[in-house]
Every structure is written in C-alpha cells, then in structure tokens.
Symmetry: C2
Subunit: 153 residues, 2 copies
C-alpha cells in the first residue's frame, strides 16, 4: 500500500474494485462477442431504441467518426443494422437486430445477477450505508471536476 492510513486504504480498495470489476466485465462481454465500447453502444440502443449515429455519438461522448467504426463492427457481427431515417435522408437509424436485442436482454440479466452476487448476503441497512458513502464520494469527485461537456449517462 502506498498510503498507510485508513482513508488511503479505502481508496486502495476502490481502485482494486475498479480493476477487478473491469476485468470481470471485459471477460463477460468477450463471451458475447462484444468489446466494452461496442457493448456501451448496444446498451444505449437497448435503452433508447433506434438512434441516429449523431445521437449515439452525443450519448457516448465520442466523435462521429468513432461511431462509424463502432457501428461497422456491430453490423459485421450482426448486432445492429443501419436503417434509413424516415424523414432525413442524411441520417441512418442504428437498430438492434433480434440477436442484438437478445444480447441486450442478457446483459441486463447479467447485471441483475451481479447485483445479487455482490450484495444478496448483505443486510439492507449495510447496502443503504454503502450507497450513501458512494454518493458522498461521487459528489466529492464531481465537485472537483471541470464543468465541461463530457459524456452524459
């Protein structure tokens, strides 16, 4: 441990959680044939329905060019299709295929299962206290952050 006091230990644990959770999700997604970025896009489509690439770029907080590449990849792997926009011939509506919708549902179920795995054996009051502490930490982080644009969500 680099920081030896109580608060340093807390931060160390948080950073460890970031690493372990990231590895866990990357592994799960790879099984579905997805990368983290593509899964994020798929997730937005599952929540918002068919979307223009512009809307996707804004919600993910990445460049339009990047979205072109991500959609190319998801089209090649049959998760989404590009459909014509009904009223704007410049735009395309990125749309989940059956496979894409099924995968979205599966990711959603996986998240529920993960929540159960992590917290099911914990008493409600402890979960609530944990959430309160996380809210506190998130508020501190946001206070420090620049008021810039940054991807929503």
């Amino acid at each position: 441990m680099t920081v030896s006091n109580r608060r340093g230990v807390a931060l160390d644990r948080v950073l460890e959680l970031v690493v372990v959770l990231g590895e866990d999700m990357t592994r799960s997604l790879a099984v579905e044939g997805l990368t983290a970025s593509r899964a994020h896009l798929l997730w937005e489509l599952g929540r918002n329905g068919p979307s223009t690439q512009r809307a996707v770029a804004d919600s993910l907080g990445v460049s339009a060019r990047n979205v072109t590449g991500l959609v190319d990849g998801l089209v090649a792997t049959r998760f989404v299709t590009r459909e014509p926009h009904p009223s704007d011939r410049r735009a395309t509506l990125v749309t989940l295929t059956e496979h894409g919708m099924a995968t979205f549902a599966q990711l959603d179920r996986g998240q529920e299962e993960l929540a159960q795995l992590l917290f099911s054996s914990m008493p409600a009051h402890q979960v609530d206290a944990f959430v309160d502490t996380l809210d506190h930490v998130l508020a501190r982080l946001r206070d420090q952050l620049p008021p810039g644009p940054a991807g929503t969500r």
Copy 2:
C-alpha cells in the same frame, strides 16, 4: 436505472464510480503527459525499481511486444531510459529518469490528496464500514472469477 431494487442501485453507483473515477484519473494523467498504460508502467518502476521488460510484462499482465511499445513511448517523452543489464546482455533495465521519479512522487501525492478529498469529511467508523463492504464485494467477485493467471496487483 435498469435495476430498480436496493441492490441494483448499489451496483449502479459502483459502475458510476468506475466511470467518474476513470475520467478523473485520465484527465490528471494527461496533464503529466501520460496515458493510463504508461502511468501503470511508471508506477511499477517506482515501486519495484529498475526492471527488465520481461518483468514489467509479467507485472502488468501484457505481452512483451506491448511493453516494447510502452517503453518506446516513455523513452521518447523522457520518463525512462533503457540501461544495459549488468549480467544478462539480452535484457535491458528500464529505469526512471529524474523526471520519471519526480512524476512518480507526484502521482503518489495526488493519490493521497484524492483519498483526503473523498474521505476526509467522513467519520472513521463510516470509512471502516465502507472498506468492509468493499472487501465483501471484492471477495464475491474473486470467488466467481476463473483461477487463471491475470496481471497481479
């Protein structure tokens, strides 16, 4: 929120923390002229001292080829140098420059400051309870994980 119950909320907060903390660290590192991967390498050197690329590859859990590239980048930006290994002429010792050492010290200080920012206004018992909960969550995640190699730390 996709999961509406108490435990789903807890997981949502954790995932949010992962995102926000990741953005915060990426921003801080960019100021120093580092990427996350290069900072990770620099961190290992700061903790372990001069190391062969093979040792670095093992501690980061990445390929030897990747380390060649990361070290190339850190050499170009003057954070490290490649020094001959005293007894093995195949190997190089990746070594922090003065600038690299100063940057490592600064990252270390930054982590302490972050710990203070996040937890200083919190009573000790709450910090302890938070750490206990994180330990519980980490244990659950590890139980589920494959016993594979994976990068340490």
